[in-house]
Every structure is written in structure tokens, then in C-alpha cells.
């Protein structure tokens, strides 16, 4: 991506500073509630509010001792992973014909595909419950919750990828075609790299929405709990900082994973370069 390093006018510099400042503010806005949430997980006050009545780690002890939380966590991660996979694949595949085919009523179909976002989750949950139990006679399980969530998350992926595909320069593909690339190669070397940011964003969307989905899951999961359900029903009778501790642990784990994902490629590259350098010296 071309960066504007070549622009050196003072106005551009000011603009850049302003934008950077804005970004900092945005992160403060996003993280202030989270920082508070983490802080309360160490607060002895059992209502998860001000004032601070003393430091404690006992809420964390409770989280680790709670098998219900462990169960809920496992279920949640499993469900979210499946939902992310399904909605990313289905949504991305559907985006192509939506943008490129000569389909009649394309915008009508697009609007139709947006409907799952418009119908309240509660109604999706109840109607799928009726479908699964009365029509299909299925036992409810995390798998039925996966279906319900996927219905809701797929449109997000589809619309994101479609927005990216739109205005994607077909000349690029034609050029590749003229140079002898077959459909697969065009897809692999031209199309996918170009839509990848949107696919990535879509997958993030789907994962995030699924991880915190409450109402559809509540109706469809049967005799199991996910974390949002656990947290919601826990706070009903007095929020305890145990749920804050749980949320903080999730956050910590995510940061760790992202850290690894960020550091690892650089480390690998560096290691490879070193090895290459050594090999080069030997030859």
C-alpha cells in the first residue's frame, strides 16, 4: 500500500498528527470500560462496582474452581469456531454471484439475504426452536445453536465481501486470463489476495458476534450453557466479580494469542533470514 511518506507539506503533517490523536482517543474510548471491568475483578467488593474495598484474587480462584464455567467456555469456543467457519465459507461464496452474476433482481436478493439481521434474534431463536423440535424432531444441542447463529452471522460476511468485490477491477482478471491463467489460478493469485482483507474482517465479525450471542443460543442449545448465558443468568441475582474475572481471563487469553500471532511471523522471518544468511556465507 503506498504510504504518504512522500508528502512532506506541513499541512499533511498536521493532518497526520490529528488523525493519530483521534485514533488514540478511539482506543481510550474502546478500552476505558474494559480497563474498569478488569480492575473490578480484583476488587473485594462483591458487587463489581465502586468503591474499591480491597485487593483480592479470590474471584479468579472461583473461576478456576467452577466446572460450569469450564463447560460453558468449551461449548462457547466450539460453537464460535464452527459458526466462524460456516459463515465465512458460505458468506464469501455467496458474495461472488451477488456481485458478478447477471442475476435478475440482484438487489432484491441482496436485501433478502440481509433479512436475518433485521429479524430480532429472539424471533429467530423461537422459530428455529419450533422448526427443530416440531418439524425435524431433533434433540437440541450445541450443533443446533451453531445453525441458528450461522443464519444470523452469514449475512455480515457476505455483505462485507460483496462490498469489497464491488468495483474490483475485472481488467485485472482479464489480464491474468490473457496471460493464460485458468480459473483456479485467477482465483488463487488475483481474486483471493484482493478480497482477503474483507474475508478476514468477515471472519472476525462472525467470531465476535457468535462469541457474545445470547438470545438465539438460549433457545437452541438445550441442556447446556455458553458463557454469555452463564454470565447473564449469574448477574440476575447480583453480579459478582467472578464474571469480571472470567471476562478478564478471556481478554488476557485473546491478547496473548494476538501477541503470538503478531510476533511469530516476524520471529520466523528473522530466523529464516538468519539461516539464509548463514547458508549464503557458506556457499
Amino acid at each position: 500500500m503506498p504510504r504518504d511518506a512522500e508528502v512532506v507539506s506541513p499541512r499533511a503533517g498536521l493532518m497526520r498528527g490529528l488523525l493519530g490523536g483521534w485514533a488514540v482517543l478511539v482506543y481510550v474510548f474502546l478500552f476505558a470500560p474494559v480497563v474498569l471491568l478488569v480492575a473490578f475483578s480484583f476488587n473485594a467488593n462483591r458487587y463489581g462496582t465502586f468503591p474499591f474495598t480491597g485487593w483480592t484474587t479470590k474471584w479468579y480462584g472461583q473461576v478456576f474452581g467452577d466446572y460450569q464455567i469450564r463447560d460453558a467456555l468449551t461449548t462457547t469456543l466450539k460453537v464460535s469456531a464452527e459458526v466462524t467457519l460456516i459463515s465465512t465459507v458460505v458468506g464469501t461464496a455467496a458474495a461472488f454471484p451477488l456481485v458478478r452474476s447477471r442475476l435478475p433482481f440482484r438487489s432484491g436478493i441482496r436485501i433478502g439475504m440481509t433479512l436475518p439481521i433485521m429479524i430480532p434474534g429472539l424471533l429467530i431463536g423461537i422459530s428455529l426452536l419450533v422448526l427443530f423440535t416440531s418439524v425435524f424432531h431433533w434433540q437440541l444441542s450445541p450443533q443446533t445453536a451453531v445453525i441458528g447463529q450461522s443464519v444470523y452471522t452469514t449475512p455480515f460476511v457476505m455483505l462485507l465481501v460483496a462490498a469489497r468485490l464491488q468495483g474490483f477491477d475485472p481488467a485485472l482478471e482479464r489480464a491474468a486470463s490473457d496471460l493464460g491463467a485458468n480459473t483456479f489460478r485467477r482465483l488463487r493469485h488475483v481474486v483471493l489476495p484482493l478480497i482477503m482483507p474483507a474475508v478476514f474482517a468477515g471472519a472476525l465479525f462472525a467470531f465476535t458476534l457468535s462469541l457474545d450471542e445470547f438470545i438465539i443460543t438460549l433457545f437452541l442449545i438445550g441442556a447446556q450453557n455458553t458463557l454469555p448465558i452463564y454470565i447473564y443468568t449469574q448477574v440476575k441475582f447480583g453480579i459478582t466479580p467472578e464474571v469480571n474475572a472470567l471476562a478478564s481471563l478471556l481478554l488476557g487469553a485473546s491478547i496473548l494469542l494476538i501477541g503470538i500471532a503478531f510476533v511469530l511471523p516476524t520471529a520466523i522471518r528473522r530466523a529464516r533470514r538468519l539461516r539464509h544468511g548463514a547458508a549464503g556465507a557458506r556457499s
Partner: protein, 288 residues
């Protein structure tokens, strides 16, 4: 003949979506539509046809009034969300080294991997009479007694909604801006266009589908919000979603279905009216 083969492949992408939607959305949607024309008796839906659920919605001014209040809150929140997210996404694409971009993007969404409920509760701890802001003000002796902020009213709802939906807008705008060919922008400037003009004439038309998508992702879910208004909005911040949830908590599935479908119908009308903005003026159309 190459074009012929492509034509089949053109539609294949729909296949998985058709299965997912056909079986698990179209059928439930028909159930919802049927519900909206049925009755509930003694906590059970009975199959007696009626249009009473729709008639009721329009016969009582409360619902239409709440609906407009909701649309107004949604419009305001969406506009603010985009206004906050656009400069941010622009900064991310233009001023951040590429390898850092995704990490920073994931950081935007990271707070959302905790819990919706707890994040909204956190805002109570920030805005409340004994919340962080008031504590800070009293500690710095700006005020001596708690200032009643806009908690438990519409402004608090808007603030929290912007907070909740910011990542959706940021991610969407990023995916769209990232694709833009900045050389065009530079070329326009080289030819003497002022930055504002270049932005309006070159950038905006091309990222319009991205902006529209962001608006859809933010506006539509906000119309159905009920927890955020309930938690921070108080009685004055009630939105249509709250009234619908009340129906459901009383097992009034038929009333709830009718009200939900009316909202969906409103959105569909809006989407049809604005469908042109989803299409992009194809800069390469001449070659087709």
C-alpha cells in the same frame, strides 16, 4: 465458450447459502409470518387467523411514537458511529505500516471478546453518580457533589450504542478503504485538485458500497436493541425493542412477531429506496 463455463460457476457460490437459508431461515421466517397472524391463548400459540396483532400496533399511539423515537436514536447513533470510525479507518490505512494494520484492527474488536452485558455495566460504572467521571471530578474539586450525567436518558443510550457498534463500522470501512487505489487520489491532487475535492470526487464514490454496508451493519441492529436502552437509558430511553421484548417475556409471540415484521418491513423499504447507493459506478465499465 469461456463465457459459457463461467456462467454456471457464476451461480454456484449461492449453493451453500441456499441450503443454509432455505432450510434454516426461509422456513422459520414463514413460521414468524404465520405467528403474526395467529393468536396466543393461555401461553400457547393457537392457529386462529387474525390481523389483530397488526391492527393493535397502529391503534395505540405508544408504538408508533416509540418507533419514531427509535428510528431517531438509530439515525443519530449511526451517523456518530460512522463519523468516529471513518477518520480512524482512514488513519489505519494511510498512516500505519501494513504489517501493524491487522493487529490494530484486532485490538479494536478485542474488548468485544468479553461480554456485552459486562461492557454495558462498565458504562454504568463510568457515568453513574458514584462512577469514574464523578469520582475524578470530585477528586480534582471541580464539583463537590455528584453531577448527574446524562445517564438514564437518551444521550447515554446513544453514547453506548456508538461504543457497541464502532468496531462493525471500523472493520467495514477498513476493508473498503484498504482496497482503494491511492494513486488515483494522488493523481487528482497532482492535477491540482484540493484534498477535499479529491476526496469527494474520487474516494467517496468508490468506497460508497463500504459506507453503505457499514450503515447497514450499525443501523439495522440498533433498531432492535433492547438491553442497552434498558441498562443505561432508564424509562426515558425506552426503544421499540423493549416493548417487543415485553411481549415475548409474556409469551405474546404473535404480537411480538407482528411488531418485528413491521420493523423489518420498514428496513426493507429503506433498503429498496437506497439500493442505488449499494451499487458502485464502475470506473472500468467501458471495458465490459
Amino acid at each position: 465458450m469461456g463465457a459459457r463455463r463461467f456462467a454456471v460457476g457464476e451461480y454456484l457460490g449461492f449453493a451453500p447459502a441456499l441450503i443454509l437459508y432455505g432450510a434454516f431461515f426461509a422456513v422459520p421466517l414463514s413460521i414468524v409470518v404465520a405467528y403474526s397472524f395467529w393468536k396466543v391463548r393461555d401461553y400457547n400459540v393457537v392457529h386462529e387467523w387474525t390481523i389483530d396483532n397488526y391492527r393493535y400496533f397502529f391503534s395505540v399511539p405508544t408504538y408508533v411514537r416509540t418507533m419514531w423515537a427509535t428510528v431517531w436514536v438509530a439515525v443519530l447513533s449511526t451517523a456518530l458511529t460512522i463519523a468516529v470510525a471513518f477518520p480512524f479507518a482512514y488513519w489505519l490505512v494511510r498512516h500505519v505500516p501494513r504489517r501493524l494494520q491487522r493487529t490494530l484492527l484486532v485490538l479494536v474488536i478485542l474488548p468485544f471478546w468479553t461480554s456485552y452485558l459486562l461492557r454495558v455495566y462498565s458504562w454504568l460504572n463510568i457515568l453513574g453518580p458514584s462512577g469514574a467521571i464523578n469520582r475524578f471530578l470530585q477528586w480534582t474539586h471541580v464539583t463537590s457533589s455528584p453531577v448527574s450525567f446524562f445517564l438514564y436518558d437518551r444521550p447515554a443510550v446513544v453514547l453506548v450504542l456508538v461504543y457497541l457498534y464502532f468496531p462493525f463500522a471500523a472493520l467495514t470501512l477498513y476493508a473498503s478503504l484498504e482496497r482503494f487505489d491511492w494513486d488515483q487520489f494522488k493523481a487528482a491532487m497532482d492535477l491540482g485538485a484540493r484534498p477535499a475535492t479529491a476526496m469527494r470526487k474520487i474516494l467517496l464514490p468508490q468506497i460508497r458500497p463500504g459506507i453503505t454496508t457499514a450503515v447497514i451493519f450499525v443501523f439495522i441492529p440498533i433498531l432492535g436493541e433492547y438491553l442497552a436502552p434498558q441498562l443505561v437509558g432508564g424509562t426515558r430511553g425506552i426503544m421499540i425493542g423493549n416493548l417487543i421484548v415485553n411481549f415475548f417475556s409474556g409469551a405474546e409471540y404473535t404480537r411480538g412477531a407482528a411488531a418485528s415484521l413491521l420493523i423489518a418491513a420498514l428496513i426493507v423499504v429503506l433498503l429498496v429506496v437506497f439500493r442505488r447507493s449499494l451499487e458502485i459506478k464502475d470506473p472500468y465499465a467501458s471495458g465490459r
